[in-house]
């Protein structure tokens, strides 16, 4: 999500599943919705059947999404920026830009600092030694009033639109085809279909998932598509948007709740170790508007932060101690999973807790992961199923060779409940918080996750109360107000993250008017205060459990507009808004761009419509407030300023393991071959293979019959796809004498696996930069535990390198060799 937030202000799917039916064109690229999200994909078939929509699929493989596409274009794995940059160039060259939208709702008119530069594949400020940029020059030119300078005529040579045009002028159709391997006529056909949605009454939706995130420059791939959508005016519109299809049932929720190394709930961020003072910490996050009359909603940061600390530490959080600001751990660096397993591999970690997570299978380079886990003193597994990680120390022959005696790690395996045996809420990809109910008791002695965490925490708290120890304050003062402390209930916890008034809240204008009584649940984050009078565990979820009750459990599915906006179903963050940035569905005067797709419009007094306005309800169009209220600019960013690690405009770089020795865009510049700011450790660079020994491009993926490494434990799914296989194109198979059903050995510099060969016409050889490139498909679902036939963990092969912003590993493009086993 480190690409949507820098562009639009929030890191989440902009629209929602049902809204996809309103599209005129669906672009599935960097994802495979038909297989990974079949029930969401129904809204694509619905758009085709009842909105006469067209479907384009761009993918290295002809997938089951492609099977229903009106047009399919093949692409070399890892070259999507070249493709999308080419689309940007095409749109600008052919004048297929929704110019009124772009001028009003993006930073196209903003003037960029003079010292910003881009030369030979590198932006200004690069430091090769630290593999990072000083991003100081990646900024707008500011006037004396503190506002960014703009040129509404777009004449200024350094206005964003002109810089954009210049940056992507290099991405001509022949260059695109040379880099991506997509035949030029196929690329142009895709451009032509996309360009039609620049019309105000036509929208394209983009559906993507791990096919974009799992690259060393995945965030920039997504950003590039987001920029295409802005040029076409497709954000904020029904049937448009950037639809990030999240993988797990509550991955959105856990991200919203900040369960990432550098976050706090609601996208608040943990302080760095350079930020040990409270006021500067807040000031650096409470962004002041960059243009007049803009909302810049993060100005309220302190209200969210103080309310969080009140929720966590209760009376201990006081103005005198800056609401326990010192108690929060301060970041020395981002402890993403690659960093953590690198540190673990080097012996810097003693303990690790895996709650419903199977890292031995989920992270890259299985051998390294196994070695890392063996360095631990203690490992705690909390899971409903027997994961591979929980038995990393056990010998499973070729699939997991291990010498148990030599592994000293003590492992605790604690059985947890599954969905059917618990209640609570999950946030789906479309930001809906939905409640579910318990239908049965767990098997044997299994307990719920909250109960298990409570069990560990209460023991630990007892030890600190009895014995003292290192900094016990946050532990012994953590608020734990549950009727049964050993079993915090879902209802109690949901009420806590929603937030409540701690004292009577009075109107700031009329001190005698009580808005909310002490103890009452809050109804919206607008009620939060930074004086300690409100407590709220996650401001973004405020409104989910109010005095009206549990809004996440609502089940009114009525859809009066027919556009699929069911406002009475569950609760959607923020503030029950269903389509983010919906102010942009109307023109600058407040009139819908497309009358058949009215989301909200200005009725001369207020904004009304079929959705909750993602905007100030009463700000008239004449005031000029922009639709992207989280951004200090008020508009969306074509130029990402300093928000992205490797540059404000996406640039094509080769995957770390590429069949090409150079980046065709910068053949003379080795530093610009791969993402110059990507996360990579020295010892892992040594384990990168080259095209001599590993000539084929490999990409890992998921099959519709399985879910990650869970459903191999599920009998029916094991029946539907029983045994590990790899997909090999017919031409490569012929070259190698491989027939369907043969056993083949796939090897990378990091290891090898053996699997059955599925030989298919769906993987075509591509002509890339003067050579034939074959691609090999590697489904990931097998392992050494479960009901399906035992297999290798596919991450035996994958490289330990991550995206520069999210540190997501590059699972989608690397090199392998293929032989008959």
């Amino acid at each position: 999500m480190a690409s949507l937030a820098p562009t639009f202000g929030r890191g989440a799917m902009t629209n929602h599943w049902v809204d996809i039916k309103n599209s005129n064109l669906v672009l599935i690229m960097g994802g495979n919705a038909a297989e990974a999200h079949p029930c969401g994909f129904k809204w694509v078939t619905e758009a085709k059947a009842h909105n006469n929509a067209r479907l384009i699929v761009v993918d290295p493989r002809f997938t089951r999404s492609a099977a229903l596409a009106d047009f399919y274009a093949p692409i070399r794995a890892g070259t999507d920026i070249a493709f999308l940059g080419g689309v940007i160039n095409y749109l600008i060259k052919t004048g297929n830009v929704h110019q009124e939208y772009v001028n009003a709702y993006t930073d196209a008119t903003f003037i960029v600092r003079e010292d910003f530069d881009f030369q030979d594949g590198l932006f200004s400020g690069y430091d090769a030694a630290s593999r990072s940029y000083d991003r100081g020059t990646w900024m707008y030119e500011l006037g004396e009033d503190g506002y960014a300078r703009t040129d509404p005529t777009l004449q200024h040579p350094r206005c964003v639109f002109n810089l954009l045009q210049r940056h992507y002028a290099r991405y001509t159709p022949d260059v695109v085809s040379d880099v991506t391997g997509t035949p030029e006529e196929d690329f142009l056909m895709v451009c032509k279909m996309i360009a039609e949605t620049a019309a105000p009454d036509r929208t394209m939706t983009v559906m993507y998932a791990l096919g974009w995130t799992q690259h060393s420059k995945g965030s920039q791939m997504i950003r590039c598509a987001a920029m295409v959508q802005l040029l076409l005016g497709n954000i904020g519109q029904s049937g448009g948007g950037m639809n990030a299809l999240r993988g797990h049932s509550n991955i959105q929720g856990l991200t919203d709740l900040g369960l990432l190394s550098d976050l706090l709930p609601g996208y608040l961020t943990l302080p760095k170790e350079s930020e040990t003072d409270y006021d500067p910490y807040i000031a650096a996050r409470a962004f002041k508007p960059l243009r007049p009359n803009q909302m810049s909603y993060w100005q309220n940061y302190s209200k969210f932060f103080v309310s969080l600390m009140k929720a966590w530490f209760g009376n201990a959080a006081m103005p005198e101690n800056n609401w326990c600001f010192d108690w929060l751990p301060k970041l020395d660096k981002v402890h993403d999973v690659l960093q953590v397993f690198e540190d673990m591999h080097q012996g810097h970690l003693n303990g690790y807790i895996c709650q419903g997570f199977n890292p031995l299978a989920a992270f890259p380079d299985k051998r390294k992961l196994g070695e890392a886990l063996a360095n631990l003193d203690y490992l705690v597994i909390i899971d409903p199923l027997e994961t591979e990680t929980s038995e990393f120390w056990k010998d499973y022959g070729e699939f997991n060779p291990a010498d148990s005696k030599s592994i000293a790690t003590e492992v605790f395996r604690l059985p947890s409940t599954c969905f059917a045996e618990e209640q609570g809420s999950l946030v789906n990809s479309g930001r809906w918080l939905q409640w579910h109910w318990k239908g049965a008791e767990p098997p044997g002695k299994a307990k719920g996750d909250a109960e298990i965490i409570a069990g560990i925490f209460l023991k630990l708290r007892d030890l600190y109360r009895e014995e003292g120890g290192a900094f016990p304050e946050p532990i012994v003062n953590l608020s734990w107000n549950h009727l049964s402390p050993e079993e915090p209930s879902a209802e109690e916890l949901a009420r806590e993250f929603n937030g409540r008034a701690l004292v009577d809240l009075t109107d700031t204008e009329e001190p005698n008017k009580v808005l909310r009584r002490a103890g009452q649940q809050l109804s919206s984050f607008g009620e939060l205060r930074d004086d300690g009078s409100t407590a709220c565990g996650c401001w973004l979820f405020c409104g989910a459990w109010t005095e009206e009750g549990n809004l996440m459990a609502r089940r009114d599915n009525s859809d009066p507009s027919g556009l699929g906006n069911t406002l009475g179903w569950a609760f959607s963050w923020p503030a029950n808004r269903r389509i983010l940035y919906n102010r942009a569905s109307a023109d600058p005067n407040g009139k819908p761009w497309d009358s058949r797709r009215r989301v909200i419009s200005w009725d001369s007094e207020r904004w009304t419509g079929i959705d909750v306005p993602d905007f100030s309800r009463t700000s008239p169009p004449s005031q000029g407030m922009g639709p992207f209220i989280m951004n200090p600019e008020g508009v969306a960013r074509l130029f990402a300023v300093d928000k992205m690690a490797e540059g404000p405009f996406p640039e094509h770089y080769e995957p770390f393991e590429s069949p090409l020795p150079v980046n065709p865009l910068h053949p003379e510049k080795p530093a610009a071959r791969n993402n110059p700011a990507a996360r990579v450790f020295a010892s892992d660079l040594e384990k990168m293979g080259d095209a001599g020994a590993y000539p084929y491009v490999a990409t890992t993926y998921r099959l519709t019959e399985h879910f990650h490494y869970w459903t191999k434990h599920v009998e029916i799914n094991a029946i539907l796809q029983p045994e590990q296989f790899v997909e090999i194109g017919a031409s490569l198979a012929e070259e190698k004498g491989i027939y369907a059903g043969d056993r083949v050995r796939i090897s990378s510099k990091r290891g090898e696996i053996v699997a059955k060969a599925v030989v298919t016409k769906r993987l075509r050889a591509l002509m890339v930069h003067g050579r034939i490139v074959h691609q090999v498909g590697l489904p990931i679902h097998w392992g050494f535990k479960g009901r399906a036939k035992p297999g290798y963990l596919t991450n035996t092969l994958t490289p330990f390198v991550g995206d520069a912003n999210t540190n997501t590993p590059e699972f989608k493009a690397f090199l392998v060799n293929v032989e008959k086993a």
Binding site: H37, N250, W327, D332, G444, I475, F497
Partner: protein
């Protein structure tokens, strides 16, 4: 298309076929030929609404369990299908969702806490109480040894870097919220969920 019987199968069909069909044809059928459909199996079952735990489409599901919810009946889920009221899936499910029953009853479900000591090649059972105690003791001694109150520059950092945690992206917001609260209170930074992979 057409009939795909191997020669062996053909003989088998004929052999068993003749032997039994003849019995029936001569009127030795055990019962009269009633034509009833299979009994509808959900009639008295308890219905509970839930959400599919796999991908983020979040399909609504209906779980059917044995027993009326009476005190003496232990609920046993025996069928799961889509919730037709749900605006997104409208009753549909994918091959994973349609097979959720086999996840609930998977032979790989963990049923009791287990412990693997240093160097052991198999699990041994452990009680919850003992597991919590030993885990807490491990964590406390590690934390007390390695907690960093200040960094090299003397700035207050209050962090514990020698322990890490991965949180479950299929657990509920409520569990996730509690887990986050727990992790930061003990000073964890090496803390992530599946969002990065």
């Amino acid at each position: 298309m057409g009939l795909k019987l191997s020669r062996r199968q053909f003989f088998k069909v004929c052999a068993t076929g003749l032997a039994t069909s003849s019995v029936a044809a001569l009127g030795f059928t055990p019962n009269a030929a009633l034509a009833e459909v299979r009994e509808f199996k959900l009639s008295g079952a308890k219905e509970t609404r839930n959400t599919c735990p796999y991908c983020s489409v979040s399909c609504g599901v209906l779980m059917y369990s044995l027993g009326s919810n009476a005190k003496n009946a232990k609920q046993e889920i025996f069928h799961i299908e889509g919730d037709p009221d749900h605006p997104i899936n409208r009753g549909t499910l994918c091959p994973k969702g349609a097979a959720l029953l086999d996840f609930v009853h998977s032979s790989s479900r963990l049923r009791r806490p287990e412990y693997r000591p240093n160097g052991a090649s198999d699990w041994q059972p452990i009680s919850w109480e003992e597991a919590f105690e030993r885990i807490a003791r491990h964590m406390k001694s590690d934390r007390d040894r390695n907690f960093e109150a200040t960094n090299e520059q003397g700035a207050t950092v209050n962090r514990w870097l020698s322990c890490g945690m991965l949180a479950a992206s299929a657990s509920s917001n409520e569990s996730g919220y509690l887990t986050h609260k727990f992790a930061r209170s003990i000073g964890l930074l090496a803390f992530d969920n599946q969002a990065r992979v």
